[in-house]
């Protein structure tokens, strides 16, 4: 068998697959980043299409009207279905989403909301809603202006730099044990 290939041709043969491999690698990297985004970071769907824009923006409900434990507990608390029904037994009962809500109430079934705000390294961080509310920090500092959001989404990085920056601005302690316990 005789090989009669010019060296420049060999270069061609190696260069083209290498170039294809190089660019395909970056396509795959961006696809992976996009997949990770949609899987872990995009605003999740909720059991009902609850709109903060209507309830906070239009009706004017205070955050604590629904998130009752925010000033008393580490967790802000999610309102029970009963709380929603205190208004929606009468209000907007013809809307499909309200009928879905009423279904949960009639079946005495709690709604399983999907978590939106989660600290990145939550195992090592202690965060208390109570401490922040009592210092007069507005909910929008971490949660954004929910009165403009139909579907709630995370609008702050909630990374350490974000927390430390805010602590510095407000004269709050920045030693490690404040958040890492």
């Amino acid at each position: 068998m005789k090989f009669d290939i010019h060296p420049s041709r060999l270069r061609d043969m190696a260069a083209i697959p290498a170039a294809i491999g190089f660019f395909v690698l970056f396509v795959l990297i961006f696809m992976a980043l996009g997949y990770d985004w949609y899987r872990n970071k995009v605003a999740p769907d909720q059991p009902i299409a609850f709109s903060h824009k209507i309830h906070v923006g239009r009706v004017g409900l205070e955050c604590q009207f629904c998130h009752e434990t925010v000033s008393r507990s580490t967790f802000a608390g999610i309102p029970p279905v009963q709380k929603c029904m205190s208004c929606h037994q009468n209000v907007a009962t013809d809307r499909p989403e309200i009928q879905k809500l009423t279904g949960y109430w009639q079946r005495e079934e709690p709604m399983e909301w999907n978590r939106v705000h989660r600290l990145r390294i939550r195992k090592h961080v202690f965060f208390s809603h109570k401490a922040h509310i009592r210092k007069g920090i507005d909910c929008s500092a971490c949660h954004g202006e929910v009165k403009y959001m139909d579907k709630i989404r995370r609008v702050r990085s909630l990374e350490m730099g974000f927390c430390v920056g805010c602590h510095r601005q407000n004269g709050a302690p920045t030693d490690c044990l404040t958040c890492h316990q």
């Binding site: 961006f30 009468n90 920056g165």
Partner: protein, 445 residues
Amino acid sequence: MGLFDTHIIPPSAGHLVLLRLLLVMTYAFFLPYLGMVVGATFLSVTFNARDRDIPNHTFARMAKDLMDMVIPNRWAALILGVIPLLLLWMIYGEWLAKSSPSSFYLLPIGAVIVAVSFGPILSYRATLYRDGRNSLVNFGLGGAGLATLMLGSYLLVGAITRFNDPERWPLDHTVLRQLLSFNIIWRYAVFFIGGVAFTGVGLLFFYFTWSGKKPLDDEKYATFMRNFGAGLALGTTALLPVMLFFWVVTTPFVAISGTIFGVAIVIVVVLFVAFMLLYHTITGQRVRHGSLVFILFLMFFLLTGFNDQLTLVNATQEHSAALVAEAEEIKAQEEIEREADRASAIVVDMGRGKEVFETVCMTCHRLDERLVGPPLNTVLPKYHGRYDDLVAFVQKPSKKNPDYPPMPAPGIPLGDIKSVAAYLLDLTGDSSVPAGEESGHDSGH
């Protein structure tokens, strides 16, 4: 920002869409042009310096041809390089009105420095035509032009990049903090390397493909230019996906959305096609598809600009929503005022009042029992003799009792509000209500 805050009416949602379109269009021709000016000036000054060390006709001619390509005349510099700066300042100023990005002041400063840099660059270009050139003056002008252009463009990129990180706005107190971040550095790297690549592509297009320029008569020089242009573009095109990757991964969380990754994939595909065509230009020893590569690079800048405006839109979602809400509030207020002007023509109709009460108010209220809102017979006596106050409250409710959720604006015409207010006051025994005639009352707004 003060100028924009004082003189700009908050933009509506439609207006913001137009601003986005205008931003992408401005980027579509400004980014490739400015990138090419940076790349061509950088290369021309380098060739000029090499020619100064060891006189070389080819290098001297390349230095001149590069500047000829990118600034054929002063008008090109003005229209493509200076006017878009003013447009960018106005677009960003309007988009960010009533907010306080700490880096906003860098935008006009960067724009002015870029505009000023065209002065020494044009002078440098003119010196390349003179016989018996003084290489020191030549290099000095070129170097000064390049340095100011790079400084100005870095300030522009830095300011615009910082708009995408609102979390950091209150923390960036110094210029260094405003201008030094990995995201800014990588974004500038994409711009600079893209500009150098586009310069190489420009040499192939303007001197070998486009019929508008005089063909090169010197075969040896033409071969040098073709190999240099294609080689430069090929090498830098291979660098761009790496730069793009670092730019995307250092972009702040709040500025990211899924579409940005999709557009990045399209950019890589565009670069791949351009890379293969450039590779065949080198191996085939002739310029093939020069126009196509040129168009692909225009697409690269268009897509980069698109991603750029997308990061701005994502990062400033809350701010834009607040502007739109303010615009809607102004519109609603105007509508209330218009209705108040027409108030004298409104007829108070008790029958209509009853109908409105039963279809609208009874969703939340009963006369004698607590529902969502308080029983009306405990509330209405407070309004006896205060018909106008009741109308004003229903028109624009405010929270009165902490035991109940706040009442939303019912969103019904003023005539209906007046009728239902009259009906309810009458029902609870207030004899002073205007009924069955033109009200003649002003709502108080």
